[in-house]
Amino acid sequence: MRRQFLKGLAAVAAMGLTGLPAMAQDAQQFYAGKAIKWIVPYKPGGGYDEYSRLLAPYMEKYTGARIEIVNVPGAGGMKGANEIFNAPDDGLTVGIINGSAMVTNQLAEIKGARYKVADYNFLGRVAADVRVLVTSPNNGFGSLEDIMSSDSPIVLGATGLGGSTYVDAVIIGDVFKLKQKVVHGFNSSSDVRQALLRGDIHGMWGSLGSALSGAANGDHRIILQSGRGEIPGVGNVPSLFDYIEKAENKELAAEIMTAWDALNAVGRPVAAPPGIPEDRVAFLRDAFQKSMNDPDFLAKANSAERELSFADGATMATVAAQATQMSPEVEKLMIAAIRGEL
């Protein structure tokens, strides 16, 4: 305690000498030696937890506060998102959220969503979602063309009704009028991957992060992606956006894909509740930006094979606001997909 106080004092003194604006200095003083509760809305293990634990030491370094990581699993990440949103607005509670899922839950007015995505104070984004379609190497489904020209439907595995593995499958299937059968009800995406390896299913939609190692060692192949460009360690994977021409209703397809893209762009942001004093938000945003660009952190994230895609807090606020705005037609489709009515 005392040591931390002294550390904080030293930091304050150092900063004071360099002549920061008075406001930032106040925030700095406020955070020195305090504890920031960092909520992870999932159990330990897995991407959100890992990103948070990787980042925590650097946030401590740049805020002068102690970061306490608290796992608050439940309701598919919504419990933690609720807890962040409704935390005291003193700036001592932040957390990472599943941005795209929280946006879609809000749109579909899922019961228990006690937050407004656009009203969070975003510190920034750790990573954007890149969604990929994964198949087994030898089952004949090597590209979207294969799926379109196949006589029998492709069987896709998914977790719960309305989960992202399910929503992606039905939306893309709807846009391109694919012959497909979506088998949902798997307990976790790990179970879906195991079913894929066994040949019970032909493919699955999932996050790039969890598909990478399987693709690198040849267990899976990634045949489509929501992003654009090369995937490190895997190579060139066609982007779904290159296929919009093949959809029946090109205009609607483009619109749906843009909305999907906007959702994926929300990705994994770090958020704080609304109503925090502006100087503290600015201070936290600054600390987050510095942490995300710390060479030490970058090296660690790289060795843990964690993709980063930094966006600052102000940008994130726009991205999140954009994601909630879609044309009524697209919104109807998205909501139907989430509710399992598509």
Partner: protein
Amino acid sequence: MTIIEGLSSGFLQAISLDVLPYLVVGAVFGLIIGVIPGLSGHFAMAMAVTFLYSMEPGAGIAFLLGAHSTVAQGGGLTAILFSTPGTGQNAATLLDGPPMRDRGEVGLAVGAAMASCFLGATFGAIALAALLPVLRDVVLFFGPPEIFVLAFLALTFVAVLGKEDMTRSLIAALMGMLLAMIGLDNVTNTARFTMGSLTLEDGLAMVPVILGLFAVAEMFELWAQGGALAKKMENPLSARDTQRQIFSGILAAFKHSWLVIRCSTIGTVMGLIPGLGSAPAAFVAYGHAKQTSKNKELFGKGNIEGVIGAEAANDAVEGGALASTLAFGIPGSSSMAILLSGLFILGLETGPTMLNNHVDIVFIMIFTIIIGNLVGTLIGMFMVNPLSRATSIRATLMVPVLMVIIVTGAYASERSLFDIGVALVFGVLGYLMKVLNYSRAALLIGFVLGFAVEKNLYLALLLDGPLFFLQPIPLGLSILTLLFLGYNIYIIARDRRRAVK
């Protein structure tokens, strides 16, 4: 790297000064976490993972897995001494451990439990090593149809557990299955039995349910009866007697080596199956021990075979559970998800990369399980003496202290106040069940397996149609299940006829 090279290199690394100290520290840490009710291996690993960033791969793995592998041992210790299962997988130990304590055989029970843990873990680890060349095929053996039939087979063990009073056992088991239905069904997106509560949509968590059913219920009973935990003892055992008992307990585990091997096999196989976990493994092994024993009627009244079977199985799970994580990088449980995170942090790749290029790391894991459990056994034995003194303290002093620890454990595993309520409600239920002679083990088996049975039945039907059980492997398993069930029904009917005569 060949397997033999990997084995020798892994062993040398595991006992080297760069790794062994971390392994020992991890094992002790896991033992302590295990002793605290409600805190499981998953919690121990989540805490340990924070320290990995500055570690070398070998040391990090040994530390992480060491912490995970001894948790069941610590949990067994508290299950026997305080009737409080340290973790879910020790719940089966409660059936025969505490009655032995009440007879003044604390040392015997703990010695047998510790040695069985070690033997079971070693068996599981060796089985994992032996399966390495075919590990990928073994993991892919289990799909929804197979898991459904196996979970159903495990469910039929209720028949063995509650033989004495079949009606009550079936009621308990079906109630357990109903409790498993609580929550949001992810197949239809329907909330079942949640009464509008958002918290209940995630279903009941296993830790507070087990703590309530067994530990809290035990506290209620102790409170109602008064006296001390070790009921029939005038004076606490002397240190020397305890020590002597521990050694005969260890000997007993070795004497029952055939039982240990069979129960360890059950544990390893159930560990291989994703989503089943170690709590049902211990109960199924317990059922098996009871079925094959000559002294069936002594089970539940302090039969050492019950302790040996349950403890051997719950540590043998470890080896099996590692398989899918190592072979494909697919975690079968939340603990394995953390292990996988840890491996990533240490810069290690799982899957074929690890099996082909880093077999030595796999063997470090295997030796960590073995050595970690050895350390746990040795230290656990020294903990018995001081801890067993506490069992002679009178209830009015002990109950409040233990209740605080239990409630904290219920809260800590998911940081949920709601779970404290769950533990207390199930405490009342457990107490009533005990008084009215309903099998809590049957309820727990129904609760844990009901979920797996339902989910996999749905998937099997969707993937392979209504005749999924006619495929060769599920068919074989189904026939086995029917034979087993038929045999048990026959035995029960025969016993009843004899009793009538």
